[in-house]
Amino acid sequence: MKRLPFSLVSTLAAALSALVLTSSPAANGQETAPPALPRYENTNVILISLQCLRPDHLGAYGYKRNTSQHIDALAKESVVFDNAISQANLTPVAQMSVFTSQYPRVNGMVSFEVPQDRVSKNTLAAILKLYGYNTAASISSPEFFMRYDSATGAVVSPGDVFSRGFDYYGRTRRGLGGRSIRKVPVGSLQWLAVNKDKKFFLWIASGLIHMPYAAAVPAADRVIYDPPGYTPFWKKLPLPKSESAESADPSYEVFSRVFRNDFYLGFAPVYHLTQADTDYVNARYDAGVAYTDRFVGEVLKQLDALGLRKNTLVVLQSIHGEELGEQGNFFHYDVTDTVIKNALMIRFPDGEFTGKRVADQVQGIDIMPTVLNYLDIPVPHEAQGVSVLPFLRGEQTAPPNEYAYIDRMPWWEYTLSKWYLEFKNNQGDYFVPAEKEKLAAYQKLIAQRFNALKAPPGDIAIRTNEWKLVVRKNKPLLDEVSWWKFISGKKQPVDEVALFDLKNDPLETTNVAKVHPGVVSRLKEKLLAWDGEIERQKTTYKKEDKYLIIPYP
């Protein structure tokens, strides 16, 4: 016979009982235990979310270049996760999974543009607010600005989903003559100084590492890793006249034309990238990482200066990674480990678990349950992730997640179909005439293939620390609408089922599905079962829903 224990909520009752016990006269002379308040009473939380941060470009994860002395120092004081997996390859999608602890199709945030009311509202910020937290965000990733700025009350564009639950939602601005909005969000330092005496949850999200690489880094710091004498290859090519073509910053406009190391213009490969080109891109990327690291150092220094270290939980995470030419591609188009493997470290107050290194796999959806669990707050039943605390405390020997699940929906193309190409085309100088001719047809094709009210079938992946299996659920559609097909002028077929041996081939260059049919069938069965369950639970959109566009500068 049993009643269900509900230890989390009863914590408060237990704490109160403890208080009562200690306040009784200790007639028997025995010392009673000090009252144990639930941690949410006096623990601050800082979540630092960094876009496009590759863990293997940090010293803490073994990088050769000295890009990250401050993050490395933080890592030494933290639990460091070596296999932290993102739920998706796109920023808003991956991060909403962190905030809701739900897979993207379940929380409804499957793209840059979703009907806001369909997105799960039980976010980390909203729950912490219930427990008396002052919730603040300081952000330089435009993916999160989305429309409403509670600092000024100005509606940037209606329909924000990320600002929900935040008392203060601050963001960077382009400013006069500013190159990029993707600066480091220094407003967070000031916010901390002003609000140090409040119990707070501060979300710091930086988009600085994102393309165009290092564009917001001061000129002197931007070039620190540049190979001597290198000239960006695109400057030597007959590119349509545009700001990005003239800039030395590796930009999306340039690198979205690169597929498997070929640079396409007018549907022809006009240039083959060399190692020197890739090295340069990496150098500029690393300059962004190093500059971001300095900012993280400032935040941590500020915490120390304000005396907040002892009662502040610090979580630092990549939102997702980045392809940096390992397979001749750039940006974050697919679900390779370069894109979906994250840096993740948690510094607990009082140095708890310091120096612990977790090789077992964890997922983005585990962050929220872990934070709530640590704070003695019940985890919402909607959560699909698990707290890793029992594992850290040694109460569980099994890894929290033997399997991680990743969604790559072809929203990339979907977004292109909606507005991006038009936006670019309107700039007038991005596409060459041959491309412009076919652009309208391409847009039309995607729009036809992707019904606006129904998420197109996507690609799904399952990952263990040994294997990754990727299944393209609708390969013919993907082959047809692929952006790579558009820029190259010919189909670039992808494998319908691909298995990668992550131990021996971490860069996922060789599909070994045929060599290991047993592994394929085992993982595929798991993956499809997960996919079926997610489809059953997924958010459904309605005809009357409004789809609002998020600016993507």
């Binding site: 016979m1 009982s17 009562v20 009784s24 200790a26 039943h381």
Partner: protein, 481 residues
């Protein structure tokens, strides 16, 4: 009646702390009227009585001002009166099976009259089919040498659902029958059982909307000046129920409501009188002093408290707060009112404990409730109560009622949430879901954890409303989708 003082958790901790500090040991309460009683009644008889549809608030010993339940009150005076007893469900089919199984409706699966209703395919819900592993109270007692007899008013406790499982004899031939149908048959069966231990389940629909006195109402509590259109007939109550279900609310005048409440009082008063006759019969047979009685109700009745009528479709207190009285064989015992919250989930383990029956391990594991014997000894118990209803597939509701007087109700198909402070708002009229978001959040997590813990993860089910009739008249609306 002396009330055994029950304290809130913090006070309890304080009391415990003081006791620990001053004496170094926990002392038993010295003034307990049951001190010295064994509270173990091996080989005694047991009678479990269900006064179907009897709302807790209409019972005098639970605070109803009118003295309409003298027999029940007298038993409470000599017994243990659990004044905050909560049913796991708000209508007969799911609620009653919990006494016999010790599990929640989600587990015994008697959630509706039909487990499949897609005419021409109609499958009547049945315990053996839906939860074949579950062992019933009657089966356990039978295995321990008890003669087992069920005497009921049919309908929701018809044997076809599995209610007869484990009974030697089971009477369910009088549709919406009352105690004048079931009790004489029980007494008849009890003749000659003087030297044999027995378990009787006695049930009557006397207080139920579909049960009318055979010679009509005498309107003993009706205001003689009432000249409204209502007569108190079963058809009228059914029509009011259906109108309320269709529209969400009905509109009655104060006089109409007073009339219906008076009719309900008469039904309860008659229930009590008929039960007295049954007790007299037991005494005549010489069985009364060798018998433990457990008096309870499967659910209450809504008499317009939330602008509707009847029961099944909500989880407000008028439907789930029901009497639970345990009368021991000892006569002239000073009774105790136990205000700690308990649940119908506790009935089966309590009966087995009182009868000192060793249940098989599987049954011990099966039962979700706790024995209330420690509470009868004066130990405080603190447990949240969970209720649920999938009434006719009209709605799917789940609730948690806390020991400190909060109730959280969630309607699964619409995700509509309600939170009430029962201490300040016993009528559950002011939804505090916006005013108390943190408490609502915590109770919601608790509720989901409870159902996940009994193997029914609420996040994994699709809540599709439909039609699964309880009464034949409702089947007319069925259309193949």
């Amino acid at each position: 009646m002396p009330r055994l003082k029950r304290s809130r958790p913090i006070l309890a901790a304080l009391l415990l702390a003081a006791t620990l500090c001053l004496c170094g040991t926990v002392q038993a309460a010295v003034d307990s009227p049951v001190a010295g009683l064994p509270l173990k009644y091996k080989d005694y008889n047991i009678v479990l009585v269900s006064f179907d549809a009897m709302q807790g608030n209409h019972v005098h010993c639970l605070g109803y001002p009118k003295d309409i339940t003298p027999t029940i009150d007298a038993m409470a005076k000599e017994g243990f009166n659990f004044t905050q007893n909560i049913s796991v469900a708000s209508w007969t089919v799911p609620a009653s099976m919990t006494w016999f199984t010790g599990v929640y409706p989600s587990e015994h699966r008697l959630l509706n009259k039909y487990s499949v209703y897609e005419p021409p395919v109609e499958v009547i819900a049945n315990l053996k089919k839906l939860a074949p592993q579950i062992v019933t109270l009657a089966e356990v007692l039978k295995a321990n040498g008890y003669a087992t007899g069920g005497f009921t008013g049919d309908a929701g406790v018809n044997g076809v659902f599995g209610y007869s499982q484990g009974f030697d004899t089971y009477f369910d031939q009088a549709k919406f029958g009352d105690l004048t149908d079931s009790a004489p048959r029980a007494l008849e069966w009890l003749k000659g059982k003087k030297d044999k231990k027995f378990f009787v389940f006695l049930h009557g629909y006397d207080s139920h909307g579909q049960c009318i006195p055979k010679k009509g109402f005498d309107r003993r509590f009706v205001d003689p000046n009432y000249h409204g259109k209502y007569t108190g007939s079963a058809q009228q109550q059914e029509a009011l129920r259906e109108e309320g279900l269709a529209k969400g609310a009905i509109n009655l005048s104060d006089a109409d409501v007073a009339f219906w409440r008076a009719i309900y009082d008469e039904k309860i008063n008659r229930t009590d009188g008929r039960f007295k006759k049954f007790l007299d019969g037991m005494k005549e047979l010489g069985l009364y002093d060798k018998t433990l009685f457990v008096l309870t109700a499967d659910h209450g009745t809504e008499v317009y408290e939330h602008k509707r009528f009847d029961h099944g479709f909500t989880l407000y207190d008028e439907l789930i707060h029901v009497p639970l009285i345990i009368k021991l064989p000892e006569r002239n015992l000073r009774g105790i009112a136990i205000p700690d919250q308990v649940s119908s989930i506790d009935v089966m383990p309590t009966i087995l404990d009182l009868l000192d029956v060793q249940a098989p391990e599987a049954v011990k594991k099966q039962m979700r409730g706790v024995s209330l014997v420690p509470a009868m000894r004066g130990e405080p118990i603190e447990q949240d109560a969970y209720s649920e209803t999938d009434y006719r597939l009209y709605t799917f509701k789940r609730s948690i009622r806390t020991t400190d007087g909060w109730k959280f109700i969630i309607t699964m198909e619409s995700n509509q949430k309600e939170l009430y402070n029962l201490n300040r708002d016993p009528g559950e009229s002011k939804n505090l879901i916006e005013a108390e978001p943190r408490l609502a959040y915590e109770l919601e997590q608790k509720l989901y954890a409870h159902f996940a813990g009994i193997g029914h993860d609420l996040t994994k089910e699709k809540w599709k409303t439909g039609l699964s009739p309880v009464y034949p008249s409702q089947a007319k609306g069925w259309k193949k989708k």
